[in-house]
């Protein structure tokens, strides 16, 4: 009997995948339905504690925290998805070309990447936002630019490995052009490498967006976002509404935990393959 060559996925992929899937489903439902209107205020419920009607309690304007968390997670995830879409496609494209062709451009590009990755991403994001001025659109562009080097690097180093493989030589012998070889032959073979990178990148994008909104340079103040809610909730820690900060914070932790488990698990699965 032939043994299955692909090793079984590990527990981290399952746990992370389930957590992430549940959050995505809740957020998707939240686009159409939330238990309460996230921006409906109710003075009587100001800082009301968690109850059956409001499972996470209410904020300082009497708005239902759970509905706002769902909406805020939606904002955060939308930004993260866009950041990764832009960052990964540009990064993979550049990495694939520089890795395949090499030469001076490759050398220069990798030096630039080295320089960018030497700086902590929050620091760079703040600098770029300072230049562009804070807004939701600028946050997406700024983070997308910052995520390009990580994808470009991984793609490049894998491309260098793959291009000396026999199947690439064969494709060349059969007369395939460089672009066909890169995008039709090599890239599909790199999916197991790129998948964990994309998941980890997504995780970092969520964290970066939350941090920027927490600092007040992310999405605009009237839109719920997890980072901004957490920074607002801080004022009520001392005045007796700790559940506000804790429920928003736990939502962020759960989101990041799911994604990081998924990324870590996928990486281990790739190593064991």
């Amino acid at each position: 009997m032939q043994k299955n060559k692909i090793k079984k996925l590990n527990w981290m992929v399952y746990t992370g995948g389930i957590i992430t899937a549940i959050i995505f489903i809740i957020v998707l439902i939240g686009r159409f339905y939330t238990p309460y209107d996230p921006s409906a205020m109710n003075g009587q419920l100001r800082l009301a504690g968690p109850s059956l009607a409001h499972i996470m309690g209410c904020d300082n304007f009497g708005r239902d925290i759970f509905s706002r968390v769902v909406e805020g997670a939606g904002t955060t995830l939308t930004i993260a998805v866009l950041v990764i879409l832009i960052g990964a496609s540009v990064g993979i494209f550049i990495g694939a070309l520089t890795g395949y062709f090499g030469g001076v451009v490759d050398e220069v590009f990798m030096r630039v990447c080295d320089l960018i990755t030497a700086f902590p991403s929050i620091m760079l994001a703040l600098i770029i936002i300072a230049i562009l001025s804070p807004s939701e659109k600028n946050i997406i562009w700024c983070l997308a630019i910052l995520f390009i080097p990580s994808f470009a690097r991984v793609t490049r180093s894998e491309m260098v490995k793959q291009k000396s493989q026999n199947y690439v030589k064969l494709a060349k012998l059969m007369g395939a052009g460089s672009f066909r070889i890169i995008f039709v032959h090599i890239l599909p073979n790199m999916v197991p490498v790129l998948l964990p990178t994309i998941t980890i990148g997504f995780n970092n994008a969520v964290l970066a967006e939350a941090s920027m909104s927490f600092l007040g340079v992310g999405v605009s103040a009237n839109k719920p976002s997890l980072g901004r809610m957490l920074s607002e909730s801080q004022n009520f820690l001392v005045t007796g509404a700790p559940w506000y900060a804790i429920s928003v914070g736990l939502a962020i932790v759960l989101l990041i935990l799911g994604l990081s488990l998924l990324g870590e698990g996928l990486q281990q699965w790739r190593r064991n393959r």
Binding site: P120, I127, I252
Partner: protein, 312 residues
């Protein structure tokens, strides 16, 4: 020596490139005239102010002037406070550097023994426990750790008053007692990462031939670990820790907001809000120099403890 000089030249060139890029970027967008005079300014007033601020001269001339002043310690004047930037930034820089260094020491002191203990028995109970805690802790963003610590130690146990910063001059012991909590918030995620890295580094060293030789010569596992594996396993961790020094400085930007620590991070965020670009530029240059210099020191230490690097 040749290696040292090569790295030193790279350091200086990198700093010059960064300073030029940053200066140009903030000059292009950071036009202070509009914010200083408002939208109803007459063209004559704008021209006059431009003249007096020296905005009419070529950018390269202005850059070299700014750079020489910067190196001499003249960071320019803040647009919004009309104060010398140097005097605004320096006391705050001291607070932030202090915070970073405490967090760094905490990370080193806690993570090295924990990593070694976890690696001693791979897949043992302690090892598994550490790995699970690590994975969870790494998912907690530093700012939420800060909030949790405020909740537990500030609100519930009353070990410090949240938001009430104690300055070093007023009360040195109170200052340290206050700063320890932001430092812990910065250190915890780093500790998790360092433990994980050190553990896997030791485990991969323990499978090498020289460890087998050590066993063959009669060493027990404790001795093989302590006297042979750790020395080699710690090399990648040292460079990771050096990079952590930059990451920790970046974490300060966020953590200072939570604990109301009057450091450089808070000044940076508020200056971005008021678009006070002389302050932003000065802080950006300080942060960038910190990162570049820390990386330089890491390269040198790396080369001293692992001479193979020099010959590669």
């Amino acid at each position: 020596m040749k290696y040292f000089l090569k790295k030193l030249i790279t350091l200086i060139v990198t700093l010059i490139i960064i300073s030029f890029l940053a200066f140009c970027a903030f000059q292009l967008i950071g036009d202070p005239i509009a914010s200083m005079l408002g939208t109803n300014a007459t063209p004559e007033a704008v021209a006059e102010l431009k003249e007096s601020l020296g905005f009419n001269r070529p950018i390269l001339v202005r850059y070299f002037e700014w750079l020489t002043n910067f190196v001499k310690g003249d960071f320019g004047t803040s647009y919004s406070y009309n104060l010398p930037v140097f005097g605004m930034v320096m006391p705050k820089l001291g607070v932030t550097v202090f915070l970073t260094i405490i967090a760094f020491l905490l990370t080193v002191v806690v993570s090295i023994p924990l990593g070694a203990l976890a690696a001693r028995k791979e897949n043992g109970i302690f090892d598994r426990l550490i790995l699970i805690i690590d994975q969870v802790v790494m998912a907690i963003p530093p700012f939420f750790i800060g909030i949790l610590l405020t909740c537990i130690f500030g609100v519930a146990l009353r070990l410090f008053t949240p938001g009430l910063f104690v300055s070093f001059k007023e009360n040195p012991s109170g200052f340290i007692g206050y700063m320890i909590f932001p430092a812990i918030s910065i250190a915890i995620p780093r500790i998790a990462m360092t433990v994980k890295m050190f553990r896997s580094s030791i485990i991969s060293q323990m499978q090498k031939d020289y460890i087998r030789t050590a066993y063959a010569r009669g060493a027990n596992s404790k001795r093989a670990l302590k006297e042979h594996a750790i020395k080699n396993a710690i090399i990648p961790v040292i460079s990771f820790l050096a990079v952590s020094l930059s990451e920790m400085l970046a974490s300060c930007i966020v953590i200072e907001q939570i604990f109301s620590v009057p450091g450089i991070g808070r000044l940076l965020v508020s200056s971005i809000g008021t678009r006070d670009f002389t302050v932003v530029l000065a802080i950006v240059m300080i942060l960038a120099s910190w990162v570049v210099i820390v990386n330089f020191i890491a390269d040198i230490i790396y080369q001293v403890i692992d001479p193979r690097i020099r010959f590669n």
